[in-house]
Symmetry: D3
Subunit: 130 residues, 6 copies
């Protein structure tokens, strides 16, 4: 496989999952750390999210739980709640995942996760998205 | 609902997911903090894992990713990899989830998660479990 | 004990400790995750903070130190600095706890904790609270 | 104040709180990083634990909660559970503090904290300590 | 050595590394926790950054990586990216360090670190600093 | 560039930095998650450590500080202290980096880092390495 294939596959996957929000992350990096943007396209999206063995909806669900539990990545949690909804998660499932994190990372992590979800749901209401 | 119903429901759910390993956690707490054992039965299992809105396999998958990402809860990760396999996850799916955590929590977290999974898989091989 | 007793006890404890700020947290959850709000009333407040064996002032002090050390839960730290002051801590004791966290979680955690405390003290000055 | 006073005050405080276990930490550092040992005597013990404004029992309690919540400092949690008991905490209070951390840092943190406390209590039983 | 020497040495080091931004941190603490400000001058700057055995540029580089990896100390990361640039790091080196943290702490930590660096570089452009 | 070049470059870099210890990590993954091993060769080593803009010694130093600060990756910290020494760091510099982490991540993180360094230094003494 050529490197260029890996980038192309990652870019398609990024757009499938995150849409315009994903592109904005890459754009944000362009003037300061374009290679970090390239790595994000190539490794998480071109390599990991493109793997068989776990469906895309499950991949987004486990990312939402991990970012909620870590508790220090609100901007990325926002992108991935959008992503999870884009690939077939319901809002109900998002809320269930975040509630469950109270068990493993404590109530503050769950509360802050719900706060991010609330913002995402409001944005999607305005855009007419489920 | 009576409190006793909540405990009974949690105990059944704990045994469904974690089997004897779950019971050993509760036993371990019996002489020093029995109420913590009771809370574990009642809140995570009686309340959260018993909720509708997210299937049990998904609940275990998001717990495996969160504990891998947090990286400071190896004993609990072990119990929940067993639990995930007990409720329908494949070993392949466990490995995929842990690999994906390299993206969100770094390669050390993924490597240490794989190390726990390797121990769990070896234990299950000895017990003739999938 | 009936479930409803547990909720009532938790609600009373929540109001004793956190006053209106605690109620606002529950309200915030009402439209998106009301069960998380119910769990917060029932488990942390109805179960844990209602336990004998440790006085309420000490319970709030150990929460302030833990949230300062974790460093990723500023909104909850704010609520619990208010809570600690509401149940008998002095501002001096709050500051001492946060300074001590420099030893265990590093100076950035302590600095960010002091920043939250400064906001809380200013709010209380405006409200004429100690 | 002379530097030597600061060290002497810290050493006395270290021995008051942690006894032989504290000395062993300093000894452990002697051949590889003696200045880190000196800093531990001078800053945490000579400066922070020697401050007025918060009693020593409370200082140890907030350290136990913070180390339980952080979840990556088991050796230090062990030393400070001993320390807390040495300066007037009861075993019951230690258990209460750790249980409460389930709320703020999740059940795995609380379980791993209880596991450390169980070891400490067993050591003290053997030594005839409360 | 007298205590006053330690403070003087720390203050000089703080100004050498962080300039006015460092002084603002100490000022911020003056009305609420002046002793924390004094400890910051004395211990990190008077003791640690004044040590031989590692050059100042390297000391700032390892601080930038650690704060990026921890991911919960954005204000301090900002101060230390300024500090690193003040003592001889290039912007390119800062970006390289932060990109590398994607490996050890995950892509969200690296992205949030780059976001802080972008703000710092913009501030320095306005001030005509390299 | 072809993918195979990326792997080859990463493998050479891995061996340059970590020697046999790096190979053992990849071997360990072979039966359970060989693709994670491949990613480690390709992304951290083939992409990141192979970048210009920051010398290899500095790259290892910032990894040692980050892993010390995170505090939940002792096996990886061990590999990278070896790596840092292999590419030109002195033991003194390693100790300085770890001591400095007391400032940013607290004394427990520094103590646990020193404990890992002590093991590494003893291993290298036995092997006649600097």
């Amino acid at each position: 496989m050529k490197e260029s294939d890996r980038y192309a596959r990652g870019w398609a996957k990024l757009k499938e999952i995150d849409g315009a929000a994903g592109e904005r992350v890459i754009d944000f990096l362009n003037d300061i750390a374009p290679d970090l943007g390239r790595y994000i396209v190539e490794f998480p999206f071109g390599d990991v999210y493109s793997r068989p063995g776990l469906d895309l909806k499950s991949r987004e669900m486990v990312t939402v739980s991990a970012l909620t539990a870590l508790g220090n990545a609100a901007p990325q949690l926002k992108v991935h709640i959008h992503g999870a909804l884009n690939v077939g998660c319901s809002r109900r499932e998002i809320v269930e995942i975040i509630i469950q994190m109270a068990v493993y990372a404590g109530f503050p992590a769950a509360l802050n996760g719900i706060s991010v979800a609330k913002d995402v749901f409001a944005e999607r209401d305005q855009q007419g998205l489920s």
